[in-house]
Symmetry: C2
Subunit: 122 residues, 2 copies
């Protein structure tokens, strides 16, 4: 999750909503992956985190928001299946919106800062 | 440095300028503290980081930008004194500007996200 965090240029946004209640790139990517894979295990694998770690992040989110952001099926054919709840989708959409607005608003300063860097040695 | 990172509500911004060249709240706070205290040791103490850790962050910044962001005096009465160079001041100012622009641009989404949180239990 953090291994490639510094490879892609741009802004990383971490939002502290309340003391000790935070939302950042890791949780957002996990919600994204659950939405795409329909599975916590698959989302965890994609993010190279353990199932336990993925569950722990989801439990934190569910507790922080006082309502599930991820809904899981407990048995039957879809055992282990997971989807975002309406709140989960809303939280993810708001975070992605904040990322876009941030990137747009800082663009000028960002390039000014990049121009201070030395040329990359060949 | 990270101990209180999640206590104050708002946005935390981490800027990746180039693969493995990043600027975030920690380095910015260190530059701020050096500007205010005129000393790497004092800045480190204020941020509850070791002198070694403070120096390591500064060396990383100086190397990344290919020019010193922090100038130190090597001897005499002001031994250990440190100031921001023109580039150091410029980098810090650009980072603070990006923080302000971010906070402004995300304000609406930020409050929408906060409203999804449950009331704090008494």
């Amino acid at each position: 999750m953090t291994r490639h965090a510094n490879r892609t240029t741009g802004a990383r946004l971490r939002i502290v909503l309340r003391p000790d209640v935070a939302l950042g790139p890791g949780k957002a990517a996990l919600l994204d992956s659950i939405q795409e894979t329909g599975s916590i295990a698959a989302a965890g694998r994609r993010m190279k985190m353990s199932y336990k770690r993925a569950w722990s992040l989801i439990e934190t989110l569910n507790r922080d928001f006082g309502t599930p952001l991820v809904a899981t099926s407990k048995g039957g054919k879809s055992f282990g299946g997971a989807t975002l709840t309406e709140t989960g989708s809303r939280v993810l959409a708001l975070y992605r919106s904040m990322e876009r607005r941030t990137q747009e608003s800082i663009q000028e300063d960002f390039h000014a800062l990049q121009r201070l860097l030395p040329d990359i040695p060949k």
